[in-house]
């Protein structure tokens, strides 16, 4: 297991390097005139040129990349071109917001989708049809529509939750809970729908296995069969889907963060990418890749723990 983890980490470092090179190259291609963006459209060209030179943008892209890489390896990601904020501090300020959403949605999804999936897979019949319909509707509804309806009903109309903003848990736990509840609910709808379907399918598959019949024949109580044996064996594929959903949440978070005015990584990515703020974007790309590598590693380890056969692969 240890050598497996070490191999994965080494591959991750190589991947980071390749992705950083690719990202920098891609970011350099559009030739966004950063100086002009900073100084406005009415600025004289000589001033714009001077600004670009001050930022080092008049050098070849590869030189800029190597310079960036040398600093990044030392942990210096520089400052944002557009807001002068320290890149690491900027990301550290926004990461808790997005992590709150991602972890919240994953927990809610894990619990509810397992309950729904197991319920549908074991009981079948009307319950199954209900869960299936919920899953299809939940998956088919556009995320932005769900979010907008939720914010309009529960925040603007009923005033139960704040419509915008984020309060850190260290500042006020209740404030934090009230600011993240609606965003988590919005993101969970589609997520639960996807994972519940997966759990249902796996449970049905496992229930048909011979060993389940044997367990039944031996007179084990049904709840024990389901919660100890079936769920454990059915969880591996669902866990893989859950892991992918977690990674995918970063994309979904963009919209939810924008609608709820949450200062997270998602909305930050959009704001700074459209401006061409390379120091911020590169750091975001790097941390996202590290996040994805770690999550996949955790999921693989968990699956291996649940199902020893998977460790061989």
């Amino acid at each position: 297991m240890l050598s497996f983890i070490l191999r994965r980490i080494a591959a991750g470092v190589a991947l980071l390097f390749v992705i950083s090179l690719l990202s920098y190259t891609l970011l350099s291609i559009p030739h966004i005139d950063v100086g002009r963006q900073l100084l406005g459209q009415g600025a004289p060209q000589d001033l714009v040129d001077a600004k670009n030179a001050a930022l080092g943008l008049d050098r070849p892209a590869m030189v800029q990349y190597l310079d960036w890489l040398a600093n990044a390896v030392r942990g210096d990601f520089g400052t944002s071109w557009f807001t002068s904020e320290n890149v690491l501090r900027a990301i550290a300020n926004r990461l808790p917001v997005t992590l709150s959403l991602m972890i919240g949605v994953t927990l809610v999804t894990a619990v509810l989708s397992f309950l729904l999936g197991v319920w549908a897979g074991v009981r079948r019949g009307a319950v199954d049809r209900f869960v299936q319909v919920f899953a299809v509707v939940g998956y088919a509804l556009p995320g932005f529509l769900v979010t907008l309806v939720i914010v309009l009903v529960f925040a603007v109309r009923l005033g139960w939750f704040p419509a915008i903003g984020y309060v850190g848990p260290s500042q006020s736990f209740t404030g934090w809970l009230s600011t993240v509840t609606l965003p988590i609910v919005s993101l969970s709808v589609g997520s639960i729908a996807g994972v519940a379907q997966q759990v249902r399918g796996s449970v049905i598959d496992v229930m048909r296995q011979d060993y389940v019949r044997t367990l039944r024949a031996r007179g084990l109580p049904p709840w024990r069969i389901v919660f100890v044996h079936v769920v454990r064996n059915a969880s591996a594929p669902a866990l893989a889907v859950l892991g992918m959903q977690f990674v995918g949440l970063l994309g979904g978070a963009v919209l939810v963060e924008q609608i709820f005015g949450l200062p997270g990584i998602g909305s930050m990515t959009v704001t700074y990418t459209t401006r061409g703020d390379i120091p911020i974007i590169m750091a975001l790309v790097m941390f996202s890749v590290i996040g994805v590598i770690l999550i996949n590693l955790v999921v693989d380890v968990l699956i291996g723990w649940l199902n020893p056969k998977a460790r061989i692969a």
Binding site: G42, V48, F82, W160, Q258, P263
Partner: protein, 505 residues
């Protein structure tokens, strides 16, 4: 099952908490929460620009204060006087002002600030181009020597160029970018501020001037108006500016929301290429007039801005001396006349006009509307769909286009408008001029706007009749509050100055 029980408990707690979330997140009695879609590049006065000015006004004072109606009143300078030939501006400074560290504010500080601003490479550095020398007379007197008269100088001193920082910080590298140090009514609360997200300003103890009504001002950044509108409706945002017509309509119907209208930006095509360098046909004024007659401004305003604005054919706004109301409707929608003018200019078969399309400015509807109107008179409008970054490069550096659709703020200071649109520069990149403009500019430049009114109006009329531009309409923006704040629109700025907010009632 334990986990689901915990979840149910969490959801129940959230529901209960929701009831008191209002008290949790409600700002204290004397706090103002402003929402903005402008990100300041830093809090160093060198980087001050446009709609970011309120961030700076909180922590720095300007030499001259610009009142909501555009009048100038004393701030750090208690008096000022132009020489008869308008090339010297003598400023008398307040003697009782100190920076946060106790350093007195003096004429030397003014000189140090203005010299630094001029060389700082910021967006507004060019506004001090006409300042030849800054002469310190004594601690409270300073004289600006101008290389030529500039009737916008007081405007600039009430804007970015007039922001005064503590010179003690000039040698500290980039300190001012995130730790502003001025004489302003507020100080940045470093512990509450998250740069890029929200800036919190607390009242500066011992501020020399009149106290503003709020103890704390928070300016929060949002990247879309939907969140701002929801925040205003729920009272989480006290004040904001809403530009999109759909969002304006959505917010207006809400019972808690108070609104104030302001016509500020005009939208139109800035035709740079009046000498016909890129599109030779545009060198003929009749062609430019034809384009002006070809577009249906009324329908564009009704459909694209849902009627929120006023059609116009002039680039000067109603608050300027150059403004003539009748010029708003000078170019009527008359496609026959447009065809006749094109025929007279020798282009009966029309021509092709290529313009860059920046989606943030030119919506699908606007793009299609202009294309249809111009096609009806034989002009083929080709949109060059490029991303904003590349477009800007090709427009300003490569000068690849004959014009572009812009939203331009309408300054109330005539010379600012002239400087931006008529004099050679970024928006007159081919440096075009003509005899009438050459004749009128020197007299306009040497007098205050009110004294040069006749010449300014003659200039405006000439620009309209000669088809220098292709304006569509002035857009109505909406200042909205959650009902707790009264907002006075600021002359010359889309966003109100920090001084323009007061508790309602």
């Amino acid at each position: 099952m334990k986990r689901s029980a915990a979840l149910i408990a969490m959801l129940a707690a959230a529901t209960v908490l929701a009831g008191c979330s209002g008290t949790d997140s409600a700002p204290p009695a004397r706090a103002l929460n402003i929402a903005t879609m402008t990100l300041p590049q830093s809090l160093d006065p060198n980087d001050a620009n446009g709609s970011a000015l309120p961030f700076f006004q909180a922590v720095y004072d300007t030499l001259v204060k610009r009142e909501p109606d555009g009048r100038y009143s004393p701030m750090l300078a208690s008096e000022w006087k132009f020489s008869d030939d308008q090339t010297e501006l003598a400023l008398t400074l307040r003697a009782d002002v100190k920076f946060d560290d106790g350093t007195p504010f003096t004429a030397q500080a003014v000189k140090a600030n203005m010299e630094r601003f001029r060389k700082g490479g910021g967006a507004q550095a060019k506004t001090l181009d006409d300042v030849k020398a800054i002469e310190v007379v004594d601690d409270t007197h300073v004289t600006l020597k101008l290389s030529q008269p500039n009737s916008a100088m007081l405007y600039y001193l009430s804007d970015a160029a007039g922001l005064m920082a503590n010179p003690a910080d000039f040698a500290k590298g980039e300190a001012l970018k995130t730790r502003p140090n001025g004489t302003g009514p507020y100080e940045l609360d470093q512990s509450q501020t998250v740069i890029g997200t929200k800036w919190v300003f607390n009242r500066a103890k011992g501020y020399w001037g009149a106290k503003l009504p709020y103890d704390t001002i928070t300016i929060s950044y949002f990247d879309n108006e939907t969140a701002i509108v929801n925040g205003v409706k729920t009272g989480q945002v006290n004040a904001a500016l809403i530009q999109e017509a759909d969002q304006q309509i959505s917010v207006e119907g809400h019972p808690n929301v108070k609104t104030t209208k302001q016509d500020f930006d005009f939208q139109g095509i800035l035709l740079f290429d009046r000498a016909g360098a890129v599109t030779p046909e545009l060198g003929d004024p009749r062609v430019r007039q034809a384009l002006n007659h070809a577009i249906d401004r009324e329908t564009m305003l009704a459909k694209i801005r849902q009627g929120r604005g006023t059609v116009t054919s002039q680039v000067f706004g109603p608050a300027t001396s150059a403004y003539k109301p009748e010029l708003d409707t000078y170019y009527t929608f008359d496609q026959n006349k447009a065809r006749d003018l094109l025929k007279a200019a020798g282009h009966a078969d029309g021509f092709t006009l290529k313009l860059p399309r920046i989606p943030a400015i030119v919506s699908e509807a606007l793009a299609a509307s202009l294309q249809t109107d111009l096609a009806a008179v034989g002009v083929k409008l080709v949109w060059d769909d490029v991303d904003q970054g590349s477009a800007v490069q090709r427009i300003f550096r490569d000068r690849a286009f004959s014009g572009m659709v812009m939203n331009m703020g309408q300054s109330s200071t005539d010379w600012v408008v002239v400087g931006e649109l008529v004099l050679p520069g970024a928006f007159n990149m081919f440096g075009y001029t003509d005899d009438t403009v050459k004749r009128l500019l020197p007299t306009i430049q040497s007098k205050p706007a009110a004294a040069a009114k006749a010449d300014l109006q003659a200039l405006n009329e000439h620009l309209v009749k000669d088809g220098w531009f292709l304006p569509f309409y002035r857009m109505t923006y909406l200042h909205v509050s959650d009902g707790t704040v009264t907002i006075a629109p600021q002359d010359g700025m889309a966003v109100p100055s920090i001084y323009n907010y007061a508790p309602a009632g």
